[in-house]
Symmetry: C2
């Protein structure tokens, strides 16, 4: 089997760390019990392992193709997507009134992980559709919701996000696509959008493009952008698809990875104008798009965790088979499987520690989101939501950056075989490389973390998280295992140093942002990475305590968890010290920001 869903660790993160029991106590989530969760996860595992995972390498070998404007998905993808739709997987976390299952984000999260681990390219299509659903639910009219959302949830149609233009990547102020109002209240859209994921394909009956464009009198910059629905096929009021709209895919990109996922250049209005419908109010498009983007950013963070898990599994499998060299401790006279070599164990455990650390943080973040939306005490919602929003750029930035390390280690474990494409390890390395780029590069995430998530409240949310870490540190220290366990001692020492590093970095950011913005923003990515490492480390510390307490229930699982946490404490957490130096140096002394361009 090419992918086996890590159900035990997922249930551990959901049940013990993120506290699913708290969620099933919330109004509307009564059905989201542990038993339901286990049943949903089992079913998701069966589907993703059996149907999607075997198509992953095939999609890489046979990318989606473009011919005369028609994009054909990789072999087997159309049928697999049909099964995905029929299984109701798109609707997991969406309202039951539109056909969804209304489950907590926490419960949808492991399903999304499995989807992406089994097939990153295919999973992008539902990921974008989720964003379109969220934007329409938030800003669409009742009619728009009624027409589009049920079809998106059922998987009959799919959704896209149309932001980027050739001159406008991260910088949406530069968007030039025009929207001309028509007498009937609709608009005609003209322009070119690039990098549109699943922007054209043959897996669904219609594609609902959500498009950023400017109306004629719109103000300049990001305050003049509106959001439009531009369906591939026009839609009647009864929801039936009609004639082809004037939006056409003129080419797809030749990419480093996720080759099965078509990345489209879309041309709007070359034949008279594409019909578009305004979503919400004019000039508030960016705000609505952020709803899509926040959902998508969390989703891309999960992609990082997913591809890391898969890379780990492949490497571990190879390490158990490949025979090479005698053990350094002299425990065998013959060559042994390489998993017995300490450096291979270091690599595998580091891969695992990074993956499980990022997973635990992401799942906990999902629970904060659920509490932020559904907590019966309204006063409790805002603080939970604020923590979730602090964590979104971290889940996105840190989980995807760490996936580069994990997939690279995955190649390394394979040695020379890792460089041969047939082996498959290289695909994860190539696929992962887009993750720290799309839906906002790591620098964009880090700017969000510094600007909106740290400076705006003077570091109050992160200060609350530091207090939580202190509580966990105290628990580690008084735990009966502390005196005898190297894992406890290492974790306590390095988490303590890490939380100090995070605190000092936050203070540097807060204190220097006004006077020395270049210094602060030169350290924004190191700050994000530091926060990711320490906050995941906090979850790993909590895992350690639980594992020690529950060891008798399942010694094999919990011993592995303890070893993984110990690896995290010694191989990952100490990086916090190095990152603190990078944050607080600010690259500012001796005139670095003053270097002329020609000195680079």
């Amino acid at each position: 089997m090419s992918y086996k869903a890590p159900l035990k660790d997922m249930m551990f993160a959901m049940g013990e760390l993120a506290g699913i029991d708290r969620l099933s106590a919330l109004p509307g989530f009564e059905d989201a019990t542990r038993d339901t969760a286990q049943a949903v996860l089992d079913e998701a595992a069966r589907f993703t392992e059996g149907v999607l995972a075997p198509l992953n390498a095939e999609g890489d070998k046979h990318p989606s193709t473009w011919k005369d404007g028609v994009v054909t998905a990789s072999p087997g993808f159309k049928d697999a997507f049909r099964q995905f739709a029929e299984g109701g997987w798109q609707g997991l976390q969406h309202p039951s009134v539109y056909g969804g299952q209304n489950l907590p984000k926490l419960l949808a999260t492991p399903c999304i992980e499995m989807l992406n681990a089994s097939n990153l390219s295919l999973a992008l299509c539902p990921l974008l559709t989720d964003g379109a659903i969220e934007a329409l639910l938030t800003a669409g009219s009742e009619t728009q919701k009624a027409i589009y959302v049920p079809k998106l949830i059922s998987g009959e149609w799919t959704g896209t996000m149309n932001l980027t233009e050739p001159q406008a990547g991260s910088d949406l102020a530069l968007v030039r696509t025009r929207a001309e109002p028509q007498a009937d209240g609709s608009y005609r859209i003209f322009g070119t959008k690039i990098f549109i994921t699943w922007g054209e394909h043959d897996m669904a009956g219609n594609i609902v493009h959500l498009v950023l464009a400017r109306t004629p009198d719109a103000p300049e910059g990001v305050k003049g952008i509106s959001l439009f629905i531009v369906p591939k096929f026009m839609v009647g009021d009864d929801g039936s698809p009609g004639v082809r709209n004037d939006v056409h895919c003129v080419s797809i990109e030749h990419k480093l990875g996720i080759k099965a996922s078509p990345t489209a250049v879309l041309q709007f209005g070359d034949h008279g104008g594409a019909v578009g419908h305004l979503v919400g109010e004019e000039n508030r498009g960016l705000e609505y798009m952020f709803i899509m983007m926040n959902a998508a950013r969390f989703g891309v963070g999960m992609q990082g965790i997913a591809v890391s898990e898969r890379a780990y599994q492949k490497a571990a499998e190879y390490a158990k088979e490949r025979v090479q060299s005698r053990p350094v401790d002299g425990s065998a006279k013959q060559s042994v499987t390489i998993i017995r070599h300490p450096d291979v164990r270091r690599m595998l455990l580091t891969m695992r520690a990074l993956t499980e650390g990022a997973r635990s943080l992401a799942y906990v973040a999902a629970a904060y989101s659920d509490l932020g939306h559904q907590h019966p005490d309204e006063a409790q919602r805002a603080p939970h939501q604020a923590i979730y929003e602090y964590l979104v750029p971290i889940v996105k930035g840190w989980s995807t950056e760490m996936s580069l390390e994990v997939t690279s280690l995955g190649v390394q474990v394979h040695g020379g075989m890792g460089f041969i494409e047939e082996t498959g390890a290289a695909q994860y390395y190539r696929d992962a490389r887009i993750l720290p780029i799309y839906e906002g590069t790591t620098a964009i995430q880090a700017n969000d973390l510094v600007g909106r998530k740290t400076l705006r409240d003077g570091g109050a949310v992160v200060a609350g998280l530091l207090t939580e870490i202190d509580r966990t540190l105290a628990e580690l220290h008084v735990h009966p295992s502390f005196r005898t366990s190297g894992a406890f001692q290492s974790m306590h020492r390095h988490l303590h140093a890490g939380r100090d590093a995070l605190q000092k970095s936050v203070r540097f950011v807060v204190d220097h942002a006004k006077r020395e913005p270049n210094a602060v923003f030169a350290g924004s990515v190191p700050y994000l990475m530091l926060a990711g490492i320490v906050l995941s480390g906090w979850q790993m510390a909590r895992s350690l305590i639980i594992a020690a307490d529950k060891r008798a229930d399942d010694a094999s699982f919990y011993d592995t968890k303890i070893a993984t946490v110990h690896c995290y404490a010694t191989q990952v957490l100490p990086r916090a010290m190095a990152l603190e130096a990078a944050v607080t140096a600010g690259l500012c002394a001796d005139g670095v920001p003053m270097l002329d361009e020609d000195q680079f």
Copy 2:
């Protein structure tokens, strides 16, 4: 221009750090003056920039091809290699008696860097040929030297290293290829070799395969391996190529990168036996192969530096062109080129700091090799050679591992465009991925560093280097710039912490290797990385002092150097602390080495 040789930094590293003037004072190297060096480097730059660099992307798009046993190099490669041969570039560091130019390794090193930066795939062919020349010069008979070496140096023929077999990668004890002695003193070779770089091609008239094989009565394991010359075409005593030998390329690999370089599966003896000639004595093949490997390992380290330099140049060029977003310091109201954004500067400077740091260490290592070979005082040779040998696994392991980070940052600077293959940044990311694997993975380098280079002398060589670092620290501290320069202060602080981390790590290795080999070898790669970071940091500290002293000569160059050193001090050197924790943790507590295979 797609590549511009960094001649100033190369001359700086050769002249100021590695001390070329000391070398031209050595007997045999009288011609190797600064002026000669400048002239050779200028010529190398002209050739590599003009002829080889433009073929690099072409080779990626049109890999070498295999048909019916015949391998055709990528378009343009054959002609470019002819120009390489005619330019005398293969002979730079080889003896003039065989047609070489007898230049110091230090002078050959920047040429090798340019060769690899301009075209990594093509440069692999001379890199392997260099190894073959070194092995033959060391272990070949006079006749063998006379027949093969001049043709290899002239570039009429090329060389290969045949170690790996399907079941024997890093573990040469498993080699099964047989060598049967014949009445005429030759041998018949039978077996399969894989991963043979440039093992078959059409760029040269003959290919000299150096092949590890076992004679019938050889002892088991690595002590029973002998080295054989197996030419593609038989060679007469007058050096004329004759009939085709029984060695055939049955396929080439489909790889992640370096696609223009054919990676061959070679079948020896399917039609009666390939004729082979023993090199040196029976059963000493591994020892001779190590001569090739040590030369090749240093060369692969240079490849890491080379591909990093090229990735940096591409990213810097893009950052100067791409317009996106307003500056965070409010210094412009419009969108600006992204090189004005602090995070882009951080990425570019980090790429540059890593590249220049590794370059300076490698060039200094080359000078130690020259002193080790040519010092007139024989008593001085051994200690210089010992330092070089300590540095070889570091130059190989650290320079190649850092190239993964640099080429990844290169993609990141490009944003979404970096993921599109046409852009070219992705090629460096793919090409670089083999470097920490071939010629011995980083773990193999680290085992060498721990075993032969640290434990064998109880850490004496590295202790000597630590003393040198202390001297540099003292120089930093008394320097007039110390009180006012952030670069000086940061460098002093972090180099001091780094040398302490290195010292503690060495002590851990030396103290624990016997009792806890698993603990030590689980930290061997972190130890190698730590040594690379600190020793390169030492060279960067020396660079800083020189730059401050010479600033008036060339303010633009030296200011950039100071900024780059400052970046190294704050973004790279602090990682030493994290690595020390990784080394000394040993992954040993709580039974990590005891985890069963099924717990992975």
